[in-house]
Every structure is written in C-alpha cells, then in structure tokens.
C-alpha cells in the first residue's frame, strides 16, 4: 500500500485503492415478454419519435416487427429504421445513420442488435446531438461539457438498447468501439452520456441466435468478467459484478449454446453479459481489437483464442495477480491460474470455436502489425502485467 502511495504507477491488486471510479446509470429491465413494452418503457426516458437501428439479419428474424408493435402499443412513433449496420460497423456507417435519423425527424434512438448495432446507435446519437463526424468523437471523456469542458457532460438524445446477443454488454456501458476503415483501426469512444438510458433484456431477443454466435459472444462476456477482475483498474464494485457474472456464465453459457430453446439459460446469459461489462480491461482486448480491425476476426472469437494465453502470461507477473486468477478458478472448482487457462481453452473447444488465429485467417507475417495495434490500444495500460512489444509478439505466436 505504501508503495502504491509513493509510486502512482505501481500495481495495487488488493486493499483500499488510492482511487477508483464506478458508474452505471442505465435503467435495466429484464424478464419475459418485454419487447411488447418497448414504447411504454422508452417513453419514461423521454422518447417520442424513435429511430430504430438494427441490421439485416435481425430484420429477417421478425424481431423488428415485434419491437415496432411494442413502440406503437406505448403510443410512440417510429420515425425510421436504419438496418444497414454490418458486423464490424464503421465511421462511415455511423455518419450515415446519424444523417438518416435527422432526415427522419427522430428525437431518440433504439438499438436492436448486437455490439456493432448498439455501438453504431451510440455514436450516431452523439453525432446526431452534437454534430461533427463519427471520427471526431474519438476519445475518453471528451464529449461536450458545461463549465468550459470541465463540468457535467451534455446529454445526448434518449437511447435504449435491446441486445440480441449476450456478450458485448454495450447496452449498459459508456463505451463504443467503431472501425475506421481508412486507418484500419478501431477507435474507442467513452463518456458518461453514452450509457444508454434503458436496456431491455428479454430472452426472446436471442431466440434465433446461431449457436456459434452465442458461443463467441458468451466468451466475450467471460473475457470482460475475467479482465475486469484482474485489471489494474479493478474495484470492489466490479469485483462483485465479475465474480457473479462468472458464476452465471459457468452455469448457463454451454447450456445456451447446446440447447438454444432454453429460455432461462439465454436470459441468464443476457444478464451475465450486462453484469460482466466494464471498460477496465486488459491485454486480451488489446490483442483482439487489432485482430478484428486488421483481419476481421470476430471480437468474441479473438477473445476466446487470446484469453488462455494472457491468463498464463499475466499470472507469471506476480503472486498478487495470480491470486486474482485463483479467485476466478475457485468459481470453476479449479486450483490456480494454469488450471484456469487450461479450463478456458477446453471450454472454447467444447463450444466449437476456433482455438488458433491461423484458423481465422491471421497469417504469421501479420504479427508485427497486430503487435503495433496491441501496444497502442488503451486497454494495454490496464493490464496487470506490463506487456512489451516482444511480449505481444510471443503471445500472438502462441495463439497462432
């Protein structure tokens, strides 16, 4: 503790922290048959003319019609629908989405989809409200504020999210990640107004989720829970969330993948993902962001591949870090970080996900560019063990 006080850069993995910050301002409702109440609930958050953001896959499932009916049932209007969000949304898509919302005369955004859809809606809402372009939104706590940029952040238009995957947690987070196709990197935008005002978790919204997507997004949630617990930016509030999320993932992820008709497992995974999410992550995300941006590796798949390797790497960084992995291992009835890493790797295999980067199109000659991306990713600074360029090269080679 004394060391932490003397050196603000020193790692502190236990005790009373010199500083931490915790916020979650999203009102969350979870349960069955909630889609029909979308309008009733969103009205409470100030919405009147809703702009619905989704993708074409979701459009084909019948979910959009059910949500539309829920909006009308609450007496609200649907100003328009934007269903042009790709798997990895881009700054161009966000700009187009914001423009369409303006043309439609919308006053609020409703995201119905996975992480890409929700992040598109969040950033489009910021562009819609404050102007500028998606690219200009990049940054941490940089949205317009009172008191010459130092006061309370200005609100954006009411935003609600109905996640159709159980993993990203974007429906209750203050962050969004969007691809910049020119720079071939993912830009991160984080500020308090990006917390959606409302999240609706209804297992009906994940009923048609293909098992491999349920598996990959579930591993994304698991990675959030693990990294949130071992990050240097850990805090007791997130500890409680991470550990409970891991219990729920332990009990529900494989059930939800193997038996998609299991509403309870799917509902619990939605809840687990919303509990697991944090912006305090680490090297797994630092490695996965460039893998997605450069080689199109789906985020959950990249996390699933990298997680066991980063657990081993971090646990060798000190007993204090290993202790944190030991806590996680106990939830799975395991003894120590090595057993946890093995367990995660076996779980990824059981879920039918790729276990190596080479299986998802990453060539060995791509490693230097991945290393560069990982070093520049903000989550690198939050990893409990400092990772050098050489360390990342080794980790990518192990994952190849």
């Amino acid at each position: 503790m004394e060391a932490a006080a003397a050196d603000p850069g020193a790692r502190q993995m236990a005790g009373f922290k010199d500083f931490f910050q915790y916020a979650c301002t999203t009102r969350l409702i979870a349960g069955r048959d909630l889609l029909g109440s979308t309008g009733f609930e969103f009205q409470k958050e100030g919405a009147q003319r809703i702009f619905l953001v989704t993708d074409r896959v979701i459009r084909g499932t019948g979910l959009v019609e059910r949500v539309e009916a829920g909006i009308a049932d609450g007496g609200l209007e649907l100003a328009g629908i934007f269903d042009d969000v790709p798997q990895d949304s881009s700054t161009h898509v966000v700009d187009r989405c914001a423009e369409k919302a303006k043309e439609a005369g919308a006053d609020s955004f409703l995201a119905l989809g996975g992480g890409s859809v929700m992040d598109t809606a969040k950033v489009a809402d910021a562009v819609f409200t404050h102007g500028g372009s998606a690219r200009e939104q990049e940054g941490f706590l940089l949205m317009p504020r009172a008191a010459d940029g130092m006061g309370r952040p200005d609100e954006i238009a009411p935003l609600a999210c109905i996640p159709t995957t159980a993993g990203t947690g974007s429906e209750v987070s203050m962050a969004a990640v969007i691809k910049d196709p020119e720079e071939k990197l993912k830009i991160e935008i984080a500020d308090f107004p990006l917390f959606p005002r409302l999240a609706i978790l209804d297992p009906e919204s994940t009923r048609t989720l293909p098992p491999h997507v349920a598996a990959a997004t579930g591993m994304d949630a698991m990675t959030h829970a693990v990294e949130g617990y071992v990050s240097v930016d850990w805090n007791p509030h997130q500890d409680a969330r991470s550990l409970q999320a891991l219990r729920m993932i332990r009990d529900n992820l494989e059930r939800a993948v193997e038996a998609p008709e299991d509403d309870a497992a799917r509902g619990n995974m939605l809840v687990a993902a919303s509990i697991a999410i944090t912006i305090s992550l680490g090297s797994v995300h630092a490695m996965s962001h460039p893998a997605g941006a450069r080689f199109g590796v789906p985020h959950g798949v990249a996390n699933a591949i990298h997680l066991p390797h980063v657990i081993r790497f971090n646990a060798e960084g000190g007993a204090d870090i290993a202790d944190r992995y030991r806590d996680i291992g106990e939830i799975f009835g395991l003894d120590g970080p090595e057993a946890l890493a093995d367990h995660v790797a076996a779980m990824v295999e059981r879920l039918g996900l790729p276990t190596r980067l080479s299986q998802v199109g990453v060539p060995e000659e791509g490693i230097p560019t991945l290393v560069e991306g990982a070093m520049g990713d903000g989550t690198t600074l939050l990893n409990p063990r400092e990772a050098s360029e050489e360390d990342y090269a080794t980790l990518y080679k192990r994952a190849l």
């Binding site: 603000p8 500083f19 941490f140 940029g149 991306g373 520049g376 903000g378």
Partner: protein
C-alpha cells in the same frame, strides 16, 4: 497556486525536456515510432507545446505558436504535466478522472506511455540543475 508562474517557465522546463528528448540518440527513435504530431495544451498557465514525432525525420518541438498541424491533442493543467514528468501521475487514473484529456488517434500516443519512465529522472535532474528545488518539492 500553480507551480509555474507563466508560460515561459513551462517552456523553460517542460519544453526543454521535450527538446532534449527530440535529439536523444537512444530515446528519440523510439518516440518517433508514434509517427504523429502531438500538441500539449496546458492550463494555468496557458501554454502550448507541439512535438513532431515522425519516423525518419528530425524531431521538432515548438513552444507557443506553431505552424505544425497536430494530429493528437493532449489537454491538462500545467501542474498535472509537471507531476507527470516527475513520475507522480498515474496516466490511467488521470484519464479516468478527466485530469488529462486526449483527442485524436490516441492509440498513437498511448503506446509511448510505457517508454516514458526513463524520462522521469531526467526531468528531475533538469530542475535540480536549474536550482528549482521549489518545483521539485511543490509536487
């Protein structure tokens, strides 16, 4: 009361540190890997330092007015910058609290954070050589 009495003092110490780093045989090539132009905008006192970190080019540091177009802009109080170079600021906490704000392709600058540790003693030495015990003790 701010540590530095005016912009000239900021440039004399923090600006000088950047100038020294720009010609350092060991560190300059590593920093230039950022391949960007960073502008540091300080408050209390108002002061601006712009640094060119472009691979294969000489490092350039402008204190005050500049013709360089920054790609990344870092904003903070000059006191925070002073404490940072003394090794007394946790960057992730400063960013989380909004004490430091970064605008632009932040990734380019974040990868430099692990490289700055060897610079802390240099800044301390620079202040010692200038007999600015007050600045060393104030932070």
């Amino acid at each position: 009361m701010p540590y530095f009495k005016d912009a000239d003092e900021v440039y004399r110490y923090i600006g000088k540190l950047f100038e020294d780093l720009a010609v350092d045989d060991e560190l300059a090539p590593k920093f230039r890997k950022a391949n960007t132009i960073v502008q540091y905008r300080y408050r209390d006192p108002e002061s601006i330092i712009t640094v060119k970190l472009i691979e294969g080019e000489d490092g350039t540091v402008d204190c005050g007015d500049t013709s360089m177009e920054p790609e990344v802009v870092m904003s903070m109080e000059a006191d925070t910058a002073h404490k940072f170079w003394l090794g007394k600021v946790n960057v992730t906490v400063a960013l989380a609290r909004g004490q430091m704000k970064a605008k632009g392709p932040v990734a380019k600058i974040l990868k430099l954070v692990p490289l700055v540790k060897p610079v802390f003693p240099r800044y301390r030495r620079l202040l010692e050589e200038a007999d600015r015990k007050d600045l060393l003790e104030a932070a």
